[in-house]
């Protein structure tokens, strides 16, 4: 090999996994309202929302779920009640320090609406885990 050749640093040496946490793939698993809140589109590039106990990565729909998007209230939260009621209001979204909404007061129509949304999320976005109360971890 000629001496003057240009050598590139090998990309697999120990310590070469230096990419930012933000670029690293997130481990699929259990989220709580608190751990989910981090992914609200303000603090990280990634945006997750909870729907019927599942967590979906909606980052590619940033225009809708990201800051100033029409559904931004749902980002980093359990969006089930809002979707069931077809309402984007903050009242429909519980805070991260509250327990999960049991959704046991939904009417049949609201439940059907929520199921429809769930189907859409399943088709469109990757499911990356489940949403549980902290006590259930």
């Amino acid at each position: 090999m000629p001496d003057s050749i240009v050598i590139t640093d090998d990309p697999i040496s120990l310590g070469s996994n230096s990419s930012k946490d933000d670029e690293e793939p997130v481990l699929e698993g259990k989220f709580t309202p608190k751990t989910l809140y981090k992914f609200n589109g303000f603090d990280t590039e990634k945006i997750y929302i909870g729907v019927k106990g599942k967590v979906y990565d909606v980052s590619k729909g940033r225009n809708f779920y990201g800051p100033s998007g029409p559904y931004s209230n749902f980002a980093g939260h359990d969006a089930s009640r809002g979707l069931a009621l077809n309402s984007f209001d903050l009242e429909c979204v519980r805070s991260f320090d509250e327990p999960l909404d049991p959704l046991d007061d939904l009417t049949r129509e609201q439940q059907a609406s929520l199921d429809g949304w769930e189907e859409m999320f399943k088709e469109k976005y990757p499911c990356i885990g489940t949403l549980v109360n902290e006590d259930d971890l």
Binding site: P2, P11, I12, N17, P25, I128
Partner: protein
């Protein structure tokens, strides 16, 4: 102005010119920006416990479908995946009498060329004979694929009358119930007669100079047919360019190939073929795609021996897939020669533009031809050109002026069969400089038809830290990114932690064969379609997979 100022101005001028040359001009010559080589895979945003994220080629990023067919227009708005019959139809539609398939004739030690009309006539004659001899759709072969007779039989099964080819890598222990007709070499005839085969086609019909070994058949109930008699049969009226094929959905679900490897069967569907062909065609940037100017030279196994190894099976599959790709593209000439016959001289004589050889053949060309040329005392200027060209390659700049061979090779395909003779990135740098060509390494493993991984067309980087200085051995082998019809990830394996992006490679996609009955391949293929493939390594920060050696 005193002489000191003049000298300073001249030196300053030279320094500025050198800087501009190095930082502006050479940078502008790079084929792609180095950032493109630092992110070669599309990586899923999430991963499961004990697994890495899912890696795909950038051509089929997450959110896009994997490549899975030839996308042939069907009606006005619909497209369909296509099948092998479409490929032959396409080849005949683009007929040109200059387009040829040339094969090495072991008897005469010469190349014999066939245009597509001649091939079509031979296929029709063979198909008629298969129909006459076999009441079953499966045609068995135990043949070296490095012969035109073998290839004609294989392609006849693919292109005509719904046959399925069953390719044995070892003589079966007992006669398979689903195979009535077997095609073999004359030397293997006694073994197949012993197995009670009643219908046999001999491809080297006693005219290859071994008449003294003629085998006497003791019974009259065996139909023994010589390949040459079928081909020379002028009584059968066939039209040279006619190909009776109208699309039916059933054809897409036919199984064209069963590989009987070490007495276990693996089925390959039409979708496996068309997906791997479509992926292969897409592995080259559009402006460099195969075209009518191209001549492809493919190295094959020996024409007279059947090697039972899995590497041999994969080499044969690669040969067939590349030939099918050549039929789809408008490539001018396909030349198939045993690798043992290929040297720099052969390459100069045949002047191919696309060269497909195994990694071990490139290794031997490197050690037996290129390195001696570089270490010889002659051709000082040529050597300087070579070194300059190698330097440019290492900086990401394609150049041809350092070539050591008088040929027009523009793409070298290296078939990586996971042998111990791995090529380092420094070796590849020497090879691509010597050929003045781009270099794509493709990784093969059973039961995948076609490559699992491929290296980037524009990736000429030489990597540091490749060699273990204590053992003087390569530590890892760069394998590149997933084929466009596959997605990959690694799983925890022994000490390898997927958290560190290392582990056993698992694959999912459209070119994976299916094992028949109870077989390890099928047993493992239960985890959401992910199948472990027995390759261990790590995902690099550049999105490429590196196999640990």
């Amino acid at each position: 102005m005193d002489s000191y100022t003049v000298l300073l101005t001249v030196v300053g001028g030279i320094v500025i010119i050198c800087l501009v040359y190095d930082t502006v001009y050479l940078e502008s010559l790079k084929d792609v920006h180095e950032l493109a080589l630092k992110e070669q895979s599309s990586i899923s945003s999430t991963r499961k416990t004990g697994e890495s994220a899912i890696y795909r080629s950038m051509d089929v990023m997450h959110g896009l479908p994997l490549t899975f067919g030839l996308q042939i227009r069907h009606g006005i708005y619909k497209v369909r995946n296509g099948n092998l019959k479409d490929i032959w139809k396409l080849a005949l539609e683009n007929y040109n009498e200059d387009r040829k398939l040339s094969y090495f004739d072991g008897k005469d030690k010469t190349l014999k060329s066939f245009n597509f009309k001649e091939l079509n006539v031979n296929f029709q004659k063979l198909a008629a004979k298969f129909k006459e001899l076999s009441s079953m759709p499966i045609i068995g072969i135990y043949l070296p694929v490095g012969r035109i007779e073998s290839l004609s039989i294989i392609l006849t099964c693919f292109f005509f009358d719904g046959f399925t080819l069953k390719n044995f890598n070892k003589i079966p222990l007992r006669k398979p119930l689903d195979v009535e007709l077997i095609c073999c070499l004359k030397s293997d005839l006694p073994k197949f007669v012993e197995l009670s085969f009643k219908k046999i086609i001999i491809v080297d019909d006693g005219k290859d100079g071994n008449d003294e070994n003629d085998y006497e058949l003791n019974t009259n109930d065996i139909f023994l047919v010589h390949y040459s008699d079928i081909i020379n049969n002028s009584a059968l009226q066939v039209s040279s360019l006619s190909y009776d094929y109208t699309y039916s959905e059933e054809e897409d679900f036919r199984i064209p190939l069963i590989e009987d490897i070490n007495f276990k069967d693996i089925q390959y569907y039409q979708l496996n073929f068309v997906s791997t062909i479509a992926s292969l065609m897409a592995s080259v940037p559009r402006e460099h795609s195969w075209n009518e100017e191209d001549i492809m030279l493919i190295g094959c196994n020996e024409f007279d021996t059947i090697l039972p190894s899995q590497s041999s099976v994969l080499t044969n599959q690669n040969l067939i897939v590349k030939i099918l790709c050549a039929f789809v593209s408008t490539i001018n000439n396909i030349i198939v020669i045993p690798e043992s016959q290929i040297s720099f001289q052969t390459i100069t004589d045949l002047n191919p533009t696309l060269l497909c050889l195994t990694e071990s053949k490139y290794h031997s060309l490197l050690n037996q031809e290129i390195k001696p040329m570089l270490s010889s005392s002659t051709g000082l200027i040529r050597k300087q050109f070579f070194h300059r060209s190698a330097l440019l390659f290492s900086r990401g700049i394609y150049s041809q002026f350092g070539s050591l061979i008088n040929s027009d090779v523009r793409i070298c395909y290296s078939c990586n069969l996971l042998s111990e003779e791995a090529l380092s990135t420094a070796d590849i740098n020497i090879l691509q400089t010597a050929f003045g060509s781009r270099f794509i390494v493709e990784t093969f493993k059973i039961p995948v038809l076609g490559p699992i991984l491929k290296t980037n067309f524009y990736d000429y980087r030489i990597l540091s830290n490749e060699i273990d200085n204590v053992n003087k051995k390569l530590k890892f082998r760069k394998m590149g990114v997933a084929a466009n019809c596959l997605e990959l990830k690694v799983k925890d394996f022994k000490n390898f932690q997927s958290e560190n992006k290392e582990g056993e490679l698992v694959i999912r996609g459209f070119n994976i064969g299916t094992a028949i009955e109870s077989n390890d391949v099928q047993k493992n293929n239960t985890d959401e379609g992910w199948m472990p493939i027995g390759i261990y390594g790590k995902w690099g920060e550049d999105g490429c997979f590196y196999e640990y050696l």
